[in-house]
Structures are given as structure tokens and as C-alpha cells.
């Protein structure tokens, strides 16, 4: 049974001011209803004035996705009542969107390159936000800080074949948008997705209200399973709109096709038609993720997997390029395989960590001044300091203060003897041919030396000691 998925992705464009007024978009840490004016509150008589920056952002995306920008596009009103919608209509674009017919390259489930067609992109305003008061209150509160935040809606053709593919598409899209500097994916609610899902030959279901990356895969997986199960049982899928309940990981029926809302779209009479196709030629696109990935492989000689990981997030890629000169291969391994995980574990961003300190750490590793085990310890200590908001100490100082310089193996002879003496059973096991026993003993020595010894060398020394029968 072939799965068919199309997405409508709404992303908040990162502009300093809202789409139709000059209110600041930087409200995340502020009180409700403090970033409002007559325009975004929809006060009687107020008129929208289009934010040029939002249009430029939209055009950048259009160019990056190789789309056709319409010679003349227009804004339209989408009419519906809801308390978070102060004008009783949303200003959006309908039958003449900003741009049409583009592509995004992703990898399919077999790892092959695949083109996902983009139907259209258009600009629209975000509504406000309802805050449901906890404790079964009989009313809800409305916050209009978000009202008028510029959104770009990106609509795909039904080209996606699995929830995993949909997630990869979103990751790629996010990456492109971040490279274009039009989107801040870390912002809460910055990305929202509606998905159309069907099993080939059956009716299509729209799932609304998915507001996180992880949610998309979860919602789609649930919905695909639900539809397949219906079909396996000989039942049919009903064409309807369903809501995704993020907390429970399920979708529930919202309304059927017959009850679909009539939005009574018509041209927004308060705005002029948009003639911006001529601006596209003047837009300089930055290097995009695919090109950067290929350059990383060629320039730094790193693996496809590393290059892909490092170029997914432009800030991460920038970071890598700042530290790569020490040793491109070592840097790639340490950034992609160690640093990323440590950052995620602490909920930190790459920009929270100074690259020069990482350069110093790489240099210590490269020169053999510290072991990899010590390097991880030092890195953790530096990250903990950064996370606590204190200035990041140079790794050399940490190494010096805590005496973590790599020791010569002879230094540890006594420790090796002590460990061997204290673990006769392990020694006996090793002699009986159990390789694991040696690792255990090495681990014990490592612990005693606080990682200052090279584990490979230690393995050799411990084996020698036992073989020589010195204990």
C-alpha cells in the first residue's frame, strides 16, 4: 500500500517588525499584549502596510527553491471568526501567490536522491494566540503579540512517501531557510505543519495543528497506520480534517468534507497588487546546504556523513570552518561525533560555545598533550562553565590545574601493578583467554590515572605485565 503525503508548512519569517505594522516581533520574553498597535489589533479604521523585508525573505526562498515568481501576485482575505483573529479575516494570498513551481532535494528511504516538488509559497499574517487558563476556567485569554507575525506558507506536491521522508524534507527545508537567514527554527512555534495523507486509491485526510518537527513524524506515522488498518479491515477512509493531539500522539476527527468552512476569499482591497518579480535577479543567494556539503567533502576531505551532519545547520557549519584548520579530519570527528551530542545533552546551541576554545582543545589533542578521554572531560567542563553563563576557561588551564597532561606509560607502572594485584579473578580470566578481562583491567587503570594514559598503550602494558608474570 503506497503512502502519499503532501505538506503545508507555515514558517515564521525572521523580520524585525510584523507583516503589516511596525510592532516588534521580539515578544517571546514579554508580557501578553505588549507588542500591539491599532493595525495588528485590527482596530476599526487601521490599514495594513506591507513589510518590504518579509517580501524580500519570501523572494529569497523562491529563488533558492528555483520557483517562478508571479509577475503580479496579490493579497486576499480569508474570512472566518475566531477570537484570536482580531479582524475576522486573515490577510493571506490565495489564487495569485508570491511564487509557484519549485523543488527541494532530499534522500528517500533507500538513500537515493529525490526531488520534492513545491507547489507554491505565499505570505500571510499569523493570528494571535489563545491561552486556556488552567483549572477548568470558564474563559480563555487572548494574546495578540503574535498577531501579524509574518508567515511563509510552503506547499508541497504529494511527493512524500513515508513519515520518515517527510521528516527529512522538513529538516532539509529548515536547513535551507536557516541558510537564507529568513527563519529562526529555535523560536517556539516558528514552524507549523498541516499534512495531507492518503493511501493510494483511497480518500485523503488532512491533519492540522502539528507544531513540532518530532510531531510531524509522530502524527504521520499514527495516521498512516490508522488508514492502513482501516483498509486492511476492509473499511474505507473518510475524507476529513483531523487534529493532531501532540500530548497523546494521536489524530482525532475535526470535521468532515461536507462541513468544510467557506472562507469567502476575495482580493484584499487595502493592499495593492504585488509586482516584485523584477527584484529576484538582484538577490544574492548564499551557498546552500547541498553545495556546502559537497565543498566540505572536497575541501576538507571528510566523509559524506560528517559533511552532511556539519552542514545541516549553517551555524554549525560556520563553527566547523572556524576550527577545521587545526586538522580538518580531527575537527570533523570531534564536532560531529562528540561536541554535538554534548551540546544537545545540555540544551545548548553551537553559538553558545566559543570556537577559539575548541581550537585550543583540538590542538591539545592533536599534539598528544592530552588523551581523547581527558579531552572529553575537559570539553564537558568547558561546556558546563558556558552553560552556567561563566566565561569559558582555556582548556590548557584546566589541564594544568587538574594535572591532566598525558602521562608516559612508565609513570603508571605502580598503578598497573596495584590493579593487577587487586583483581586476581580478572587476571585469571585473561589468562584463560577472555579478552574482555583485559579491557576491564585497562578501565580500572584508566580510572586511577583519570584518563591521562593512552588506553591502547595501557592495554599493551597491562598484557605485558601479566604475561611477564610480574605479579
Amino acid at each position: 500500500m503506497k503512502t502519499i503525503i503532501g505538506l503545508e508548512v507555515h514558517v515564521q519569517l525572521s523580520t524585525a517588525t510584523k507583516l503589516f505594522c511596525s510592532c516588534s516581533t521580539d515578544y517571546q520574553n514579554d508580557e501578553p499584549n505588549t507588542h500591539c498597535c491599532p493595525i495588528c489589533l485590527g482596530l476599526p479604521g487601521a490599514l495594513p502596510r506591507l513589510n518590504r523585508k518579509a517580501v524580500e525573505h519570501g523572494l529569497k526562498v523562491a529563488k533558492a527553491l528555483k520557483m517562478n515568481v508571479l509577475e503580479e501576485s496579490e493579497f486576499a482575505r480569508k474570512n472566518y471568526f475566531y477570537p484570536d483573529l482580531p479582524k475576522g479575516y486573515q490577510i493571506t494570498q490565495y489564487d495569485r501567490p508570491l511564487a509557484v513551481a519549485g523543488t527541494v532535494e532530499i534522500e528517500d528511504d533507500e538513500g537515493h536522491e529525490k526531488i520534492v516538488r513545491i507547489t507554491r509559497i505565499h505570505l500571510e499574517e499569523d493570528p494571535g494566540r489563545l491561552i486556556h487558563v488552567a483549572g477548568g476556567s470558564s474563559y480563555s485569554l487572548v494574546d495578540y503579540n503574535r498577531s501579524g507575525i509574518p508567515l511563509l506558507e510552503i506547499v508541497t506536491e504529494p511527493d512524500l512517501r513515508s513519515p520518515q521522508e517527510a521528516r527529512r524534507f522538513l529538516n532539509r527545508l529548515r536547513s535551507i531557510l536557516e541558510y537564507l537567514e529568513v527563519f529562526d527554527g529555535d523560536r517556539e512555534g516558528a514552524l507549523r505543519v498541516d499534512a495531507n495523507i492518503s493511501i493510494e486509491g483511497s480518500e485523503r485526510v488532512e491533519v492540522k495543528n502539528i507544531s513540532s518537527y518530532r510531531g510531524v513524524e509522530k502524527a504521520l506515522t499514527f495516521e498512516v497506520t490508522r488508514q492502513k488498518n482501516l483498509l486492511r479491515r476492509g473499511q474505507s477512509v473518510t475524507r476529513e480534517t483531523r487534529h493532531f493531539m501532540e500530548a497523546r500522539g494521536i489524530t482525532t476527527s475535526a470535521r468532515s468534507k461536507e462541513e468544510e468552512q467557506d472562507y469567502r476569499y476575495f482580493t484584499e482591497p487595502d493592499l495593492r497588487p504585488l509586482r516584485v518579480a523584477g527584484m529576484v535577479a538582484g538577490i544574492d543567494l548564499p551557498e546552500l546546504p547541498t553545495a556546502r556539503k559537497e565543498r566540505f567533502m572536497a575541501q576538507y576531505g571528510i566523509s559524506l556523513n560528517h559533511a552532511r551532519t556539519l552542514t545541516g545547520d549553517p551555524r554549525l557549519a560556520d563553527f566547523y570552518e572556524e576550527v577545521a584548520y587545526v586538522d580538518p579530519f580531527l575537527a570533523a570527528t570531534w564536532v560531529a561525533d562528540t561536541l554535538l551530542g554534548e551540546l544537545n545533552y545540555r540544551g545548548m546551541r553551537i553559538t553558545d560555545f566559543p570556537a577559539n576554545r575548541f581550537v585550543e582543545l583540538l590542538a591539545l589533542i592533536r599534539s598528544g598533550t592530552i588523551t581523547e578521554t581527558v579531552a572529553v572531560q575537559v570539553l564537558r567542563e568547558m561546556l558546563d562553565t558556558c552553560a552556567a553563563g561563566r566565561p569559558c576557561e582555556p582548556p590548557a588551564m584546566i589541564v594544568k590545574r587538574e594535572g591532566l597532561v598525558r602521562g608516559e606509560s612508565e609513570e603508571f607502572a605502580e598503578i598497573v601493578r596495584d590493579v593487577i594485584a587487586a583483581n586476581p579473578q580478572a587476571v585469571a580470566d585473561y589468562r584463560a583467554g577472555k579478552k574482555g578481562a583485559l579491557n576491564f583491567l585497562v578501565g580500572q587503570v584508566m580510572k586511577e590515572t583519570r584518563g591521562r594514559a593512552d588506553p591502547r598503550e595501557l592495554g599493551r602494558i597491562v598484557a605485558e605485565y601479566i604475561d611477564r608474570g610480574e605479579v
Binding site: 482596530l43 474570512n79 471568526f81 479582524k87 470558564s138
Partner: protein, 434 residues
Amino acid sequence: MAGTLEFSPDDRYNAFITTCKEAPFSDGVLAGTPIAVKDNISTAGIETTCGSRILEGYVPPYDAHVVELLRREGAAIVGKTNMDEFGMGTTTETSAFGPTTNPIDTSRVPGGSSGGSAAAVAAGLVPMALGTDTGGSIRCPAAFCGIVGFKPTYGRVSRYGLIAYANSLEQIGPMARNVEEISRLLSVIARYDPRDSTMIDRPYKHQPSVDIEGLRIGVPEEYFGEGVDARVAETVRDAISVLEEMGARTVQVSIPGMRYALAAYYVICTGEASSNLARFDGLRYGPAVDTRKPWHEAYREIRQEKFGAEVRRRIMLGTFALSAGYAGRYYAKAQIARRNIKEDFERAFRSADIIAGPTMPTVAFRLGEKTDPLSLYLSDILTVPANLAGIPAISVPCAGSVDGLPVGLQLMGRRFEDERVIDAAYAYEQGVGR
């Protein structure tokens, strides 16, 4: 010369919804001039109701662009004038605050929807006022009350702060006793405002001139045909001949698209209105909704209770005209008809510089005379074409009258030739020695 103007008019015509007993003013070309503002134009600190219960108690936190300009030039805003609810009417009888009467004959309506502004000027309570014109709402009451009213070219005056009825059609404009005052007020309010995206930066700086030598006046047969009172037509023809005597010459023109003008107008204005008026839900301003009820029930109740019958009718008509399955048949067709009328005017303006005809097909109705909405809608036939085409149009009182009631001469010009329209009206006024 800044100060405060005391204003306590004998408002026997119910021209005002709100009056300001003490109106502050500053220096400027209008220093100390009392000006009345139609109650759908936002005034910071002064209640603005649109003649509707649903906005009762609403005090805007900001001034409309035109009000800012008035204040900057020293005008004293002395009050907010009565109007048909949200501008939806031709008589000022749909106001939630009672009808305004016509100062010429108090048994008659002042016209609408800017009836309060027209009555305030006609009664001499203020020398000038602001009105708004969506389908004739400045020119109709000007004609019925015997004053001058001007609808500028669409895009010449900022709509920022005008509480929208039908955005693509309406303009704010001056109302006064003579053309010179119209011109003076227009020069203050027609200044660029980037907040209105439909505006074009063409400030009005013009001194009216009586020189109309060689002016070609187009006289469309449609403006003198069926439905137009013969005596009104005759009075207007006399007025046009005055202009001829002053050096103008008349040419026959035709606006065949007029056949569909009213239908197109009512589809477009109700469609836009149904959307514009959606924001009045009792949540943010005006009388508050009952928050204990589910929001959709609370919305329905307050909108049912606070909107008047004519407003509800137009919201329903507009909602229908925009509905899926009907929008193609109504809204899209109306846009075609609108384009045709625009083109008709462009064609007519190739052989004429000004188009002249009556403002209204009849003189002022008696209060309560027109109860059938359709017959009221029909009386807008001569004014709506200018709104559909976006062209400037003025109503100036004819020298003659019908049964002692004023008749308006309507003069229309090409887009952004507001100055020429003002000159023609000024010439007529001077020619008949008013």
C-alpha cells in the same frame, strides 16, 4: 493663536452624535475653524460609533490621518456627525441614534449617509465638515441639503482611520457651503500618508479658478433617463447651460455600463462590508460580549442585538455574494461590470473634460417615505458610477429648485483631475452669483 473653542450648538436637526463642548485648536491655516467630522472617522479621545450600537462607547486611541492633518492646521474638532449605520443608507435614518432632519424642510431627510455633516453645514452650525462617500454618501446629502460636497479621486485622501464600509470604493471628502471652502479643506486633508497603501502621492494645492473657456462638458443620456424626476433633470440642464454661457461647450457621451452599475455596486460594497464588519465581535471594543458563553454563541448574540436591520441585511447579502459556488456568479461578475464602467468613463473622457448630470434622481424624500430597501438602493444610481470608476465628483447646488427643495448638479472628472472638477463647480457657483 492657539486656544479653545466653546461649542454648544442648537442641534435641533440631530446632526451630531457627539459634540465637544470645549474644542482645543492650534495655529495653522484653519486656526480656530470649527469642523464637524463624520462619526466613522477615528478621533483620538472622542467616541466614534459609526452610528451603530456595536461601537457605542468606543473611544479610538488614535486619530485618522485626516484628523491629524486638521488638528495640525489648527481646526477645532467640535463634534462627530450622525450617519446611516456604518454608512449603509441614503437618508441617515438607519442611524442607531435616530434620524437627522433636513434643515431646509425638517419633514424631509437630509440624505445620507453623511446626513449629519450636511445638516450641520446647512444649518450653519459649522462652516465645514468631513463626510465619506462610498456610493454617494457625500454628494447625496449635499444635494438634498443645498450645500457643496466633494468626493475626491480614489487614492487622493488617506483612508487611515476611516472605519471601513467598502474599502475599494470609499473616500473621505469635504462638505461646505461653497466651493472655495471645499477647496480650502481639501488642501488640508489631501496630503500623502504612507499608511494607506492605496494612496497616491498627489497633494492638492489649488486655487479655484472660474476660467472654463473651451471646457468640454459631457452630458450622458443615462443621467437624464428613466427614474430621473423630469423637473430635477430640467433644473440640472439649466445649470449646464449656465456653464455653456461661461465658455464651456457640451458634448453627448454615453456610459452604457450604467445598466449594471447598481447591481455591481451592491455586490461589491456588501461583499467588502461583510468582511470589514466581522471584527465587531464585542471582544476588544464596544459593548462587551458575555464571556461565560461559548465564543460563537456570544458573537452571534451581540452581532444580532447591536447591528441594525440594514447592516445585517447587507452583511448577509455580501456573505452570500462571496460564498463558494456563488462568488463566480456575483462577485466576479460585479468586478467585470466595474471594469466596464471604468472603461466607459475613460472613453467618455476622451471627448469630454467634465461629465455633468444630476446628483440625485429626485429631491429629498420625506422622513419614512422610503421603506423598501430596493427603491432606496435605486436612488444611488447616479452617484455610484463615480465610486466604481474611482473618479472625482462634486455636487454643487443648482440655482433653481424643485418645490423649494435644492437640486444638486453633479460634475465628474478624470482620475486625479480633482482640480478641474473644483474649477468647473467654482465657475458655476460664481456664474450664478451664490
